[in-house]
Structure formats: C-alpha cells, structure tokens
C-alpha cells in the first residue's frame, strides 16, 4: 500500500475491512489524538484509554464516513465527544490538575537543572489551560496545538467559524489574565 495514500482513501479501504489501511490511519494519527486528549483531560492515563476508544469508534463508523476531505475534523469530533463524555462522568468531585509529570513520561530527558525552568513554565501554562471552560479549551487545543483552521475546528465542534473565533478570543483573554502578570516569573 502506498504510504502517501490520503486519509479518505484509507477510510474507504478501512470501511471495506482492510486491516492494513486502518493500521496506517491509526499510526498516522495516534500521536495527535493523544496530545489533544491530554489537553482535554489533563491525565495521560485517561487520554491513552480514550485514544483506543477513539480509533475503535473510527473503525465502527467507517461505513458512514463521507470522504470529502474532512477526516481530521471528523476524527477530532469523535475524540472530542469521548472526552466530553468522560468529563461528564466525573461526578461529585473532579480532579483535573494537569499532571506535572507529563513531561517526564519519556524517561531519560534533560537533567534536572536545565529542565526545571522549562518544566515550571510548562506546568503554569497547563494549569492555566485546565482552568478554561471546556469548550474554550477544546477550540484552543484544536487550533493552537493541532494546527486546525477555524473552519476545521468548527466542523469538529459542530459550531460556526464565528463561534470558534469567539471561543478562542475568550480563551486567550482568560489566559492573558491568568498568565499575563506572571511573565517575569515564567
């Protein structure tokens, strides 16, 4: 199978039950989906759990996928729905402190000295992101970290382009308030 095959072509083959095509899709997108889910849930373990669920859903829904070049939006809509569903089930009390050990999961990294400053900044930004209302965080994660245009984000979040713009503007205003005064410390 040519490695350059685009997502739509792979989805068509996946719908026909071609395992190799589905495998390519999973391998192509797993990192992005995991990264997005970590931003949404603040927990690597839960995110890894939902990455699997996301791709199982992709497989189950492959037959209804419309190959119009919007695979990424479709994929992140599935991931976003699962993340929302998971967040809704955090009943009673919720612990969404963004895991400060996220950046350590790779094992060997930079030594503690050169890594400290970066890690403090990272924790501060993650914590600020985690304080955003869910939809603002979702729009920002898709746009800023997944590089999706407003139109693609709108498609993924079932809203409009002005709606996305508003979410991102409000998210940025909140982050500015949260992080703005700490510029010198970061």
């Amino acid at each position: 199978m040519p490695r350059t095959m685009d997502d739509d072509a792979l989805m068509i083959r996946t719908a026909e039950g071609e395992e190799a095509a589905f495998r390519l899709l999973v391998q192509r997108w797993e990192r992005d989906v995991l990264s997005f889910l970590i931003h949404m849930l603040g927990s690597v373990e839960e995110a890894e759990d939902l990455v699997q669920d996301t791709f199982v859903q992709v497989f189950r829904k492959a037959g209804s996928y419309q190959a119009v070049g919007m695979f990424k939006s479709w994929l992140f809509r599935i991931a976003g729905n699962l993340a929302r569903s998971r967040l809704r089930r955090r009943k009673v009390l919720r612990w969404v402190r963004f895991d400060p050990v996220v950046h350590d999961t790779g094992g060997a990294g930079p030594g503690p000295h050169e890594d400290l400053e970066h890690s403090q900044r990272e924790d501060a930004v993650r914590a600020a992101l985690s304080r955003l209302p869910g939809r603002q965080r979702e729009a920002l994660a898709l746009h800023r970290f997944q590089g999706m245009r407003y139109k693609e984000v709108a498609e993924a979040m079932n809203t409009t382009v002005p709606g996305v713009e508003s979410l991102i503007q409000r998210a940025m205003a909140a982050l500015r308030e949260d992080l703005g005064g700490k510029g010198d410390q970061l």
Binding site: E19, Q27, R31, L34, S35, I38, H39, V44, E45, E46, E48, Q52, D53, Q57, F59, R60, K61, S64, R77, N81, R84, S85, L87, R88, R89, R90, V92, L93, R94, W95, V96, R97, F98, V102, H103, T105, G106, V125, A127, L129, R131, P133, G134, Q136, H143, F145, R149, Y150, M157, N158, E165, Q169, R170, M172, A174, L175, R176, G180, G183, L186
Partner: protein, 162 residues
Amino acid sequence: MKHVTNRIQAYISGELDSDRMAAFEEHLNECPSCRKEADRAREIWEMLEAAETPSPATGSVWSAVQARTFGRGTSEREWFFGAGNMTRAGLATAAVAAGLMLGVLLPAGSGYRQEADSGLTDSSWLVESSWLSESSWLGGDGSTGLDDILLGADLLDEGNGS
C-alpha cells in the same frame, strides 16, 4: 481612527484574508495602543508552546485497537461490556477517591478556587461537576445534527452503563 483589537486574534491565528491583513498591519503601524495589545496577545500565544505535549511513546495503540477491531478471540462487544467496563469503573472509583482525598486536603476557600467566565465555576484543583452543564459544554443543542449523521447517535452513550 478605528482600532483593530477585535481582529488581533484572527491575525495571530492567520485567519485574516489578505485585504484585512493589510488593513490590520497598516493600522498597527500607526497605532501604538493596538500594537501593544497585539504584542501582548502574541506573547501569550507563544507562551502556549510550553504546553505542547511531547511526542508520546507509540506502538501500543495499534495492538490494543487491533484486538478490539480485527482481533480474534475477544470480540468488540465483549471488550466494551466486559473487561472494558471493569477498567472504567476502576478509573472512576480512583478518580472519586482522589477527589475526596483532595477535598480533605484542599478545602474550598483554600485559595485555589477561581471564577471562570460564563458564570461557570472552574478550577484545576477542586471542582464540582456542575460547571460542566450540558448546555454550556455541548453548545446548547448537544450532539445533534451532523454528529448524528457522521457518528451515529449512540456515540455519546458509549460506555455509560456504569
């Protein structure tokens, strides 16, 4: 002079068409106030880079997904309604337990609570689930319309048997 603060984010996001971008930049050249706003917005935008998640380790995703789709032995149904729910129930229990522990360690009023916009109470530390009301989170009508066409109506109910 009409200020352009409402277009700063679209500019940073690369969402202005060429005409609007030219007008925006022209204004920025003449207006120190908007320029300062744009600089601060850009600074926050770049600060977000610190929250980029590192390239996670990969390799295990496919084998797990394969087992639940093309795998023999464990059918997907068994996965969803069998072992899968055990895992999820365990996670939920652990999450609640952690939350309760923190409730003891970090009582409300300890300085960690913050007001988010939309009247929603949000905080990264200790949060009642009420902030996540359906209407605010799902944009009013929940997951209807295109969601149902593209994903099927059962998606949001997935795994809700707990």
